[in-house]
Symmetry: none
DNA sequence: TATGAATGAGGTTTCATTCAT
DNA sequence: TATGAATGAAACCTCATTCAT
């Protein structure tokens, strides 16, 4: 008993995913009207799994894959080291599943189709504001950096990220751009060929926050607004 | 001589050191009357240092800081493990000096002021073409990814990169943008506040090549041209 | 050129032995009336050898055999590392020769037969005073500690020390004791069987200075005088 | 072949740990129905710790701090290398704790107040006999030599030894001497100022056994008796 | 299922020794 | 003879993984 335990898995995703997941697992065998009981084994197990994932995410973000010690992950998750191996084959499997789990909220944000009643610019701007506030500014942006950092060593991760986030996000962006073109909001027709241009400042903002915010703070939202001015034309003050 | 040497230092830095080193190794068994190496000890030592840097860069790019084994660096450089410690205090010092050395060519590109006789767009486009061809497409782009990946763990590296590359590059970009505004080429005055927007697609291109080019190739130069169309207005076919 | 050299071999023995030795070597081939000339090779070589021995003694005393780095010895001696191997087969040979050389002054002190005109007590007291002042209080006492420390690992050293110092010294002591008994100064006839008793406080003083003088200073000479009072009877104030 | 290995774990601490440990190892392949070790994990862990301490003591005594390999300690203790680090932060911590542990029996001897019914001389002689038999003659005496050897490099060790053994022991000696003076057994009043004189022959005996017993055996007990004759006056044959 | 002590392969670093200059 | 860069064996220490409890 040399090391006091830390039970502060500081939820990274901020989403209620963990809670939901645990609840789901629990309800899967307890019946619809199960009264609240001292959490069953399955519930406890799922909770631990979530705690390990949350702790692992923190550690992997802070140190990268190779430099992260499962010892630290276990301590942060409040479980024994061996317990990790009950849930994940090895460190690599933990890492890959981690990323998958962490990406879910990102996808959720991207996946939610914006209200179609406003202008395309409004839609994109609202989307971007959400993204920047929830990702670029948050620690969650570090997940992106983590993927950039470890992607080449974990093809699975890069593939998954491309499939679930990048290609989807770009499709959505392309659709929005084409809508903007069709509506006459966007003049540059070629933009639809490179939706990356649309999101590039958001990516740059994420990286900037991780590396350079202490050298020079960056108002990501304002930057993005200027970027949109380039695409949609300057906003006229209402 | 237990370990067969690998002489594939796939030159990253662009310096002729690796080439010389390789030549040396080659000549040592090429002819019956192999002339005694005339190079002085100091020269040999400097060559070794260069070889270690080149080898280290390869390995760090391929595996990241923590997962790189100095054993591999030594083998790739064709030196004994202990030799690394004659030139660098420890793994960390090697890494940091490595980055510094590797950044020099990048700085050289940025530092060369473009000819001022053409249009601002031409200047930027020529600059971007050079950058993309020399960085984004090359393995040198991986240096950028390496910095993104390890920066948070190596404040020195991030600081150095910010000082030598980022802040400089942004200043130059800002100056060009202001020139463009003054000449009436650029309409969006706010762009000068966020030169990051100008380079964002180039950054994205670098990352894309590292992670997703196998999923979907990206014509970075064409993308950048479209981006410039947003800023300068669409090119009129001549 | 990372490490500036230190040319401060801080003579440990304090004796002019080194100088004498060098001079001897020089004179051995230069003739009786040789005019002062830029020191010959042989002289320079002998000087270096002495410098290595002096530096080695310092380092071995400070760190013990295993923890001493020849690099440090070379630096302190102001020679290159390889030079050590021109004079000594290896680290072990350096150590053993070192001890031999360092013991010479000790032997010299012991060997000088005291004037036989005073009382035995006076002879011993004068001898002890010299020993304590020159050895116990000086850094030279650490040589004794060094031998105690490394002796079991270096039988040669222990043997040599026993032969040259211990057995000789004890013989001399025994002779003095027997003289004291014969003259009626010493009552305890059995003391001649254990001359170690006579020197024991001096040994303890040496060790005390090395280990505990900072905790509690010890007046070794006064202690020895009290010890002699036990053997010779209390001194009558003249 | 520089370092001959010793496979003779001659128990130094006197604790039964080593014995048990050996028994365990033996039983693990001795019979077909080897009974499952009932000892709890905590017990097993403590046993291992003891085994490491015992093994470390042997090795440190035999080779000194710097030359001792933890690999050998582990092998001698019958544990894996990593196990050492579960119990001790590093080699230095092992060494320091080792000494502390090893000193306990010494302190125990010193701490036991002698029966006050006999003469002071009897008390001291009985004490010295115990000390010499249990320490000087035993390998435990090497602990003293180890402390003398490494003390200057391990101030903690020297401090601890001074505090727990030396200053205590000297106080006790001084008290006994003063008692002897009060009772008229000891004539030399100044002896109380230097209790070191009383124990000096015992110290010398310890060192002698380590270094020179093979050159000339020393009857430490008889020597001490002669020493006491000096202090208390010659014994009258009963 | 959960634990955490134990393992040992593998990594970083040191340093005695060599040898081309 | 002197040098000091280079070597590589060997030491310390870490940590992913296992397994008895």
């Amino acid at each position: 008993m040399k090391q006091p335990k830390q039970n502060l898995p500081k939820d990274v995703t901020g989403s209620p995913a963990a809670a939901r997941s645990a609840a789901k697992t629990a309800s899967s065998h307890s019946g619809p009207a199960a009264p609240r009981r001292p959490s069953s084994r399955a519930v406890r197990s799922a909770e631990r799994r979530e705690a390990i994932i949350a702790a692992g995410l923190e550690e992997f973000i802070a140190r990268g894959f190779a430099a992260t010690r499962l010892d630290d992950v276990a301590r942060r998750a409040g479980v024994a080291k061996g317990t990790i191996y009950l849930h994940f084959k090895d460190k690599e499997a933990l890492f890959e599943e981690l990323i998958r789990t962490a990406i879910v909220p990102l996808v959720a944000r991207l996946g939610a189709p914006p209200a179609l009643d406003g202008s395309v610019r409004d839609m994109i701007e609202s989307f971007a504001r959400t993204f920047i506030q929830e990702v670029a500014t948050t620690k969650r942006g570090d997940i992106v950096r983590l993927i950039v950092a470890e992607g080449p060593r974990f093809p699975n991760v890069a593939d998954f990220y491309y499939r679930e986030v990048v290609s989807r996000g770009l499709s959505d962006m392309r659709a929005l751009i084409e809508l903007g073109i069709a509506r006459g909001e966007i003049a540059q027709k070629n933009l639809a060929r490179f939706p990356q241009i649309l999101v590039a400042p958001a990516i740059v903002a994420v990286i900037w926050q991780s590396l350079f915010s202490k050298h020079a703070p960056l108002d990501a939202i304002e930057m993005f607004r200027v970027h949109l001015d380039l695409i949609f034309g300057e906003r006229r003050p209402t």
